[in-house]
């Protein structure tokens, strides 16, 4: 467990006994790796990792100070900071990963979808599958007088926005939020509701929901248990989308600046280890995550997505080398444009009820995403010889280049959020209120 580089000057951390929360998902991997490989200890930090029951409990834990930091949905710090759902200024110096989610439907829904799907030479469904394929299922449910229910993990979760994006791109209205009605089901063709990730398969099995959007291992678990079929990964909805962040309260970062840098250092090293040599360490990472105190699912289930493949229907295993990205493509850098995208989706679906000028989006992003802390940590790691100069976007202004790598081909530029919001067929536009 000896550190690789020369032992540099240790940061003088203000608080060295820390408690971090996480949800049992594979993308908590940087935390587990930083702990198990001794990266936290190398920084003089004594960290306790504690699994949390659900995202709400986790967020409350960070706000009340019971937890010093946590593995969070990218939307959580943003929503808390603008006061949607709860009010607390939370910041993030570290983006935990890209991609890693999928949308799964029950076997019954899959049977109804299948006839309308185009197939390739081997007779397998052609990917990506558009949400249009759901229409026969939704119609058949409506004929029986049953609502078509879908589960997602949290109102401000990546999964909620991805699921809505996919549905809307296929011409299905996922419903709107308003200040009076926070169910998110206003005018909906399908009804989205919250279910904690680990309970997704059980809830699907019970018939309470007919499909869900969730992170791994819960899509592959549905395949293993033969209770559902993943139809699309978020990689296909938006290539290399930001997923989780590491969140701490602004107060904590202000009072413990060195601690924040030290934590970020350990996490960057862990992320690098996870992607090193073309995912060479993923096998070992799977063994760590399979322990009951981390994710705890069977190693085979976790390995399915962590090792660059993804199984859709039973036996239909496809290569998705970038299904989980922890370090490549500057994955760990907290880009303002990632924050702005989440804010645009909050506006699109009515969680932000009124128009905001473009610079409001930029200001919120700047107050939550803290590349300054990240760059300090990265600079120290480069000096210690632990990461390469080229691994960090030193000169970035915080905005990724405009991209059209979405399932519907709409182009996103983080500098012009309002123009982006107005370019969707389904969604609130400038001047509209839910």
């Amino acid at each position: 467990m000896a550190p690789l580089g020369a032992q540099a000057e240790m940061l003088d951390v203000e608080k060295d006994e820390l408690k971090f929360g996480f949800i049992k998902l594979t993308d908590m991997a940087p935390l587990a790796v930083a702990y198990e490989l001794g990266y936290f200890e190398d920084e003089g930090l004594f960290v306790t990792l504690e699994p949390q029951a659900n995202w709400k409990v986790l967020l409350d834990g960070v706000i009340t100070g019971e937890l010093d930091g946590a593995h969070m949905l990218a939307g959580q710090p943003l929503a808390a900071t603008i006061g949607y759902g709860t009010q607390a200024h939370i910041v993030t110096p570290f983006s935990m990963d890209l991609n890693g989610n999928a949308i799964t439907v029950s076997n019954a829904v899959w049977e109804l979808m299948k006839p309308s799907l185009a197939t390739d030479a081997q007779g397998l469904p052609q990917h990506p599958i558009s949400a249009e394929a759901l229409k026969p299922a939704i119609e058949s449910f409506a004929a029986e007088g049953r609502p078509f229910n879908l589960g997602m993990v949290f109102p401000v979760s990546t999964h909620n926005y991805e699921l809505r994006y996919w549905l809307a791109a296929g011409g299905i209205n996922p419903g709107f939020y308003s200040p009076e009605d926070v169910s998110g089901q206003i005018g909906a063709d399908v009804y989205l509701s919250v279910t904690p990730p680990p309970q997704m398969p059980a809830t699907l099995e019970a018939g309470t929901i007919d499909g869900y959007a969730v992170g791994e291992p819960w899509n592959q678990a549905a395949v293993f248990k033969k209770i559902g079929v993943p139809v699309i990964t978020d990689y296909e909805i938006w290539k290399n989308n930001p997923e989780k962040v590491f969140g701490m309260t602004a107060d904590f970062v202000e009072q413990n600046p060195n601690t924040a840098i030290a934590v970020t250092k350990a996490l960057i090293r862990a992320a690098k280890w996870l992607d090193e040599n073309d995912n060479a360490n993923r096998g070992e990472a799977v063994d760590i995550l399979a322990r009951p105190d981390y994710v705890g699912a069977d190693a085979a289930v976790i390995a399915n997505s962590m090792t660059g493949t993804f199984e859709y229907e039973q036996g239909d295993k496809r290569e998705v080398p970038d299904f989980n990205v922890f370090y490549r493509h500057f994955a760990t850098y907290p880009y303002y444009s990632d924050a702005v995208w989440y804010l645009t989706q909050m506006r699109r679906w009515g969680q932000i009820a009124e128009d905001k000028p473009d610079d409001w989006y930029a200001d919120v992003a700047k107050s939550v995403y803290r590349p300054d802390i990240y760059l300090k940590a990265a600079r120290m790691l480069v000096d210690e010889g632990l990461i390469d100069e080229a691994d960090v976007p030193w000169d970035s202004d915080g905005y990724r280049p405009a991209t059209a790598d979405f399932i519907d081909g709409v182009s996103y530029d983080g500098r012009t959020p309002n123009a982006y919001i107005d370019s969707f067929a389904i969604g609130l536009k400038t001047g509209e209120t839910p």
Binding site: Q52, V57, P198, A202, K225, D293
Partner: protein
């Protein structure tokens, strides 16, 4: 060997046997309290009693219970593989036993990790001292996961604290309402109202109040533990309260009159008359309370995600691995065993403190 000495020898050995049996009979009360009643006939056979009669005793106290357990295990082993859940077949006794071993291994492994953590820390500190940086010496506690055994201890600690608070509240209130009719009348509707409330309903309220009031967090009693303990208190104080009131109210009237004649002070009355005669019922209440408390605790820990066996069960359920069900069953059997042992401890105390049943 003369006849006389032979007779006297026999009578001496008779006396010894008499003594021995008296001792065995005295011990048997304790043994049965501890759930070891089947030892009594074995001891009597060993002391030379008629085996046939004792074997009948033994059959009732040992063979039948064992048969019940064996039958249960057989039925479980036969039926479990028939049910296919989404986590695979329901585990039988063999898998559960295996997982119990695995949990023990986990515990050992975690302890090893702890030892190596402290070794690394000592190394770092020695290095710091050697390099003339004594201010860098840090002594920090290990930050690993609580193992299954740690969770058991946490749960016991929590239920103990909750039970103590419940006793401290319920016994005085019970005595007061047993002695005073107006007090009893005032308290009765409240007892009837709050007694049926589920722990799960108390939990959010307790969480909010404890979080607001209990700011000065003591190392030994973290907030989560206090929340669980207070929830246990709210659910487990009723049996003690009701039974204490009943015990106090049903004191022999002659005793009360004697007390009045002697003009005893209230405190003396309570300590000399009321408590001794109400004790059996108080202990019945305490025993019920502890049982309720232990049951409630697991639910509270599950919902609040507070450390303990309940959290262990919930975490395993969330893990959804192929071993999860077997591990949960290990926890269920552990909960049952500990509940049984707690009950026995209370029963033993009850026997020890009650004048009537032992005399």
């Amino acid at each position: 060997m003369s006849i006389v000495s032979d007779v006297s020898g026999r009578s001496r050995s008779d006396q010894r046997r008499q003594k021995l049996f008296a001792a065995i009979n005295r011990a048997s009360a304790w043994l049965s309290a501890l759930g070891l009643g089947w030892l009594t006939p074995l001891l009597k056979i060993a002391a030379g009693d008629d085996p046939r009669e004792q074997l009948g005793e033994l059959r009732d106290s040992l063979v039948f219970p064992l048969m019940g357990i064996v039958l249960f295990l057989t039925a479980w082993a036969m039926l479990a593989p028939q049910v296919q859940t989404s986590l695979g077949a329901i585990p039988g006794p063999a898998q559960v036993w295996e997982q119990a071993g695995a949990l023990w291994q986990d515990h050992v492994a975690e302890r090893e990790k702890e030892a190596s953590f402290y070794a690394r820390q000592d190394e770092r500190n020695a290095e710091a001292v050697a390099e003339g940086r004594p201010e860098d010496v840090k002594l920090r506690a290990y930050t690993g996961k609580p193992t299954f055994l740690d969770q058991i201890l946490t749960s016991l600690k929590t239920v103990g604290l909750g039970f103590l608070i419940a006793t401290a509240v319920a016994v005085p209130l019970g005595i007061a309402s047993g002695l005073s009719r107006p007090f009893n009348g005032a308290l009765n509707p409240l007892v009837q109202l709050f007694k049926p409330v589920s722990p799960l309903a108390w939990l959010p309220i307790v969480t909010m109040i404890v979080s607001a009031v209990y700011v000065d967090v003591n190392e030994a009693f973290p907030k989560a533990l206090v929340i669980s303990a207070v929830t246990v208190t709210l659910c487990s104080l009723w049996p003690t309260l009701i039974n204490t009131a009943l015990g106090v109210a049903s004191i022999d009237k002659d005793l009360v009159n004697v007390g009045k004649v002697l003009q005893l002070s209230t405190l003396t009355t309570i300590s000399k008359l009321v408590l001794p005669s109400a004790l059996p019922l108080i202990f019945t209440g305490l025993r019920l309370s502890l049982g309720v408390g232990w049951m409630v605790l697991i639910a509270a820990e599950m919902l609040a995600q507070n450390p303990g066996l309940g959290k262990f069960v919930w975490d395993e359920f969330q893990n959804g691995s192929s071993n999860s069900l077997a591990r949960i069953m290990v926890a269920v059997l552990t909960i049952g065993t500990i509940g049984f042992m707690l009950d026995r401890v209370m029963f033993t105390l009850q026997t020890a403190f009650t004048f009537s049943s032992n005399r």
